[in-house]
Symmetry: C2
Subunit: 337 residues, 2 copies
Amino acid sequence: MIKRLGDSTLMFLEKPSIVGFASLVGKKEAQGPLKDDFDKIVYDMHLGQDTWEKAESALQREALSLALQKSQCSSKDVDYLFAGDLLNQCISSSYGLKDFEIPYLGQYGACSTMVQGLIMASVMVESKASHKSACVTSSHFCSAERQYRFPLDYGGQRPQSSQWTVTGAGCCILSDEDKKNAPKVFRATVGKIVDLGVNDQNNMGAAMAPAAADTLLRYFKDTSTIPSDYDMIYTGDLGKIGSKLMYDILDKEGFDISHNHKDCGVMIFKSDDIDVHSGGSGCGCCASVLCGHILKNVEKQKLKNILVMATGALLSPTSIQQNETIPSIAHLVNIVV
Amino acid sequence: MIKRLGDSTLMFLEKPSIVGFASLVGKKEAQGPLKDDFDKIVYDMHLGQDTWEKAESALQREALSLALQKSQCSSKDVDYLFAGDLLNQCISSSYGLKDFEIPYLGQYGACSTMVQGLIMASVMVESKASHKSACVTSSHFCSAERQYRFPLDYGGQRPQSSQWTVTGAGCCILSDEDKKNAPKVFRATVGKIVDLGVNDQNNMGAAMAPAAADTLLRYFKDTSTIPSDYDMIYTGDLGKIGSKLMYDILDKEGFDISHNHKDCGVMIFKSDDIDVHSGGSGCGCCASVLCGHILKNVEKQKLKNILVMATGALLSPTSIQQNETIPSIAHLVNIVV
C-alpha cells in the first residue's frame, strides 16, 4: 500500500525489495576506489560494437542480463521495464533492451533517470500492478561527449567546473517477495523542475544543486526527519562544486548534511585523476555506484537507512545554443534494510 | 485497486476519471474535419516565441493551462506530471512545464507518449499515490522536421509513405474523484518493443504496425474480449499504410477491426490534403485527437467503451544513419463512461 506523506513524498508500506542489482563500468572508472564493487569491468570501450551508441546499448543489455542472473529470474518474470538514457530519443535503451520482450516504459530524467526508474518500479510493485519490475540506465563517455560537446578527436580543454561522463550502467530488479537482507525501497520524493538561471553547460553541478536542495528539503519536511537520521545521504552527480553549493543552500535552511553526504560523481574516479575536474556525471554515474558500491553495503548491513538522490540537468545542446538556462531535477529514494 | 489481467494488462477497479482535458493545434490541422473539437487553434506557428523549440514548449504550457482551467483546479492540486516529446532530451516538456512546479516525471515513448503518460497517471491515482496526476505531450511540425529530416527551407519531396508531423498538444488530468460523465480509464496494456526489421524512416507506419498488433492481441487475450465489444478502436499515428498493415497482421490471428477502427493520423487532416501523404504523426497527433475529438465524444456518451492505442517509433536520426532498423512500441488504454 502506498501512503502519501506531506506535500510530495510516498511511503511504500510493504517496502519493495531490490532482489537483484548489477553494475558495470569502463576502464577509467575501474581505476577509481570503487573498482571491486562493480560486477563487471569493460576494458574494450567499444564492447565489440561498431559505433559508440551501440556500445552504450550493449552496456544496458549487459546490466539487465546480470541483474536477472543475480536475482535468479528470467526476463519473462519481469512485468515492466523502466529505462532511459542521455542519447537523443533514448536509443541506448530502446535498441539495447528490445530483445528482452518486457513491457517497456521509456523514462527521461537525464542523470536522474536511475532513481526515477526506481521510484516508478517501486510504485508498480507496491500497487500490485506488478510482481517484479526492473529499471536500468547507462551513459558512455564517447557517445555523450560527441553528442553534447565536441567530436572525440577534437581534444579541447575543459574548465575545472566541468564533469566527466561515466561509462557505465546499472540495473535494479524490484519485487514484492520479502527477500532476506535485500535492500528495500521505503520512501520516495519525486523532484520538481528547478531553474535558478545557470546557463553554463560546463557547470552542471551549479545548475543541479538547487534542485537537489529542493527535493531534500521537501523530503525532510514531509517525513519529519533530519540528516542525522540517515547513515548516509548520496547524491548522483553534483560533483565537487555542486555538492558545495547544495551545502550552502541547505545551510541557509538550517540543515547540515556535510558529515554524512557523499556524491557518486566524486566517489567514482581516482581523486588525483586530473581529467575529471569536478567529478563524474551521466546516467551511468549514479546507476553504477548505486548498483555497485551502495547497494552492496546495504546488503552487508554496513548501511541500514540511506537516502539516494539522483540529479539531472534537463537541457539539450539546442537549448544551450538558444541561450536558455538549465532546468534541473532531483529524485530521491529512501532505502532501508 | 489495480488488478492484473493475464500476461500484461492492468485493470483499474476504481477507474480514474479524466476530470479535465484540453487540446490545441496549428492552422493546417484546423483545416481538417476535427476543427471544432479542439479547444484552441494556433494561427501563429511561432506562438510568439523566437525559436521553433520554444514554440513547441508554449504548446505544452498552453495545453496544461487549459486542462487545469477546464478541470477547475490549479497546478498546486496536481501531484504528479508525466510529460515528454520528440525533441532531443525532451526539451519541449522540461522548458515548457518548469514554471508549474509540479513534481515531474519525464517520459519517452516517441509518438506513444500520450497513452504512456495516461497509463502512468492512472497508476498513480488508482494506487492512491496521488489524488490528481496530469499527462501532457506535444509535437510541432517545424521543430520535428528540422531535427529528424531536413532544414525547413530545403523543401525536399517526400515519398507517399511518409507522414506529416502534427503541430499540436494534448493534456489530461486524472483524478480519484468520481466526476459525472467524465471519461474513465478502466484497463491498460503496456507495449513491448517490437522490431521486424523495417528500416525506412519514411515509412513509420510499416515499422509501427507490428507493435500495434502485438499490444492489441495481448489486450484481447488478457481481457477475453473481441473487437466488436468496443464502440471504436483508435490508433495514434499508423497512417493509411500502417493501418492496412496492422489489419493484415490481425487478420492472420483471426481478428477483424476494420469496421470500428480509426487512426488519429488519418482523421486529423483534410482527406484531400496532398502534403500529408500517409497521414499525421508526432506525439501531438494522438494527443490532440484524443483530448479533442475522442474524449469529447466519450463525454457526450456518443462513445461509451473505446480503446485508444498510441504508437511510437523508437528510432533517432543517429540510429538511422547507422543503418539500424526501427524498434516500435504501442501502449493501449480502455476508456469507458
